[in-house]
Amino acid sequence: MDKIVLDEMQLLQLKRFIRIEEGIKEADVVDEILDHLACKTEEMMNQDIFLSFEKAVQAAYYSFGFGGFRLMARQYEKTMKKLVWKEFKKAIPAVIFSNKMVMSLVWCCFLSLVAFWRERYFAENILSGIIVYLMMGTMLSFYIVQFKYSFLAKDSLVDLRMDKGALMWQKKVVRMIGIDILFLPFLFSNFYFKFNPFVFLVILMLFGFLSMVNSFAKMETMNRMKFKFGKTA
C-alpha cells in the first residue's frame, strides 16, 4: 500500500493552525514546524490507518510540549538578531568613513571653529559634533543593512530572515535614538547658532524620510511574504 502523504488542503490546515492559533509569524519557523508536524502526522497515520487526520495532528502537536512552538520562535529571533548584528558591524565603519559622512564631520568642525572664533566654546562644540556624527552614522548603518536586504533576491530565505532581523534591530534603534534625534537641535545649540529652527526643520524632514523608508521596507517584506505563501494561503 502507498504511504499516506498529507495533501495540500491538510497542509494548509496545519499552516493555519501554526500561524493563527499558535501565533507564530516568522515564515521560517512556520515552515520548520509545519514540516515536522506533517512528518509526524504522516507517520502516525501510516502506523494506524484508522487514525483520523485531526487525532494524528493533536498527538503530534503534544509532542512539542508546553510552549514548544514559542520556544522555537524565541531562539530563532535571537539567531536572526545575531546574524544582522554581524552585518551591522561591517556596515558601521563603511558608513562612518563614507565621503558624505566625513564631509558632515568636516562641516561640524567648521561650525565649531566659527563658534570658537565668536564665543570660544571649542571643546563642547567638537564633542557635540562628534556625538551627533556617531549617532547619525550608527542609525544610517541600520537603514543601509535593512535596505540592502529588503531589495535582494526575492525567494532567498536567508535574505528574508536578514530583512526581518534588520527590522527588529531597527525598531530597537529607532526606539533608542529616534526620540533623541528630535533633541539634536539642542545639541547644536552649543554652536554659534543657539536654537536653530532651520536645523530643527531639516532633522524633522530627515526623520520623516527615514520613517517613510521604514514603512516602505515593511510593505516590501509583507508583499514578499504574501508572494511566498500566495500559492497555498
Binding site: V5, L6, D7, E8, L11, D28, D31, E32, L34, D35, H36, A38, C39, K40, S63, F64, G65, G67, G68, L71, M72, R74, Q75, Y76, K78, T79, K82, L83, L157, T232
Partner: protein, 112 residues
Amino acid sequence: MDKDKIIKGSLSTIILQLIQNNNQMYGYEITKAVKEASKGKMGLSEAALYPTLHKLEDEGLIETETKIVNGRTRKYYSLTKKGNTASIDQLAVLKEAIASLQNVLKYKLSNG
C-alpha cells in the same frame, strides 16, 4: 531516573555527531534517528531539539539548505568546517566523561 535528563547535557554533541554521520539531516529525521538508534529508550523532544539546532546555527557550527518536499519547505542541516572540528572535539570530551563516570561508579576505597 529520567533518561532524557541525562542526554540533555550532551544534546549538541549528539546532534552534531548525527549530522556528521549522515551528511545532511532535517529536524524530524534527527528525532527519529535518536529514537530508532536507542530502540525507543531515548527520546529527543522537539522543544529541546529546535532551539539547540538554532543555537548551533547561530554559533556557525551548522548551516541550512531548504528544499521543497511533498509540497512543503524542508530545512536540511549540515556541518560547517567549524562544526566538523567541534563535533570531533565534543565527542572526545563526551567519551572521556563517560569513561570517568564508569570509573567513579566502580570505585571502592582501597583501605576502607
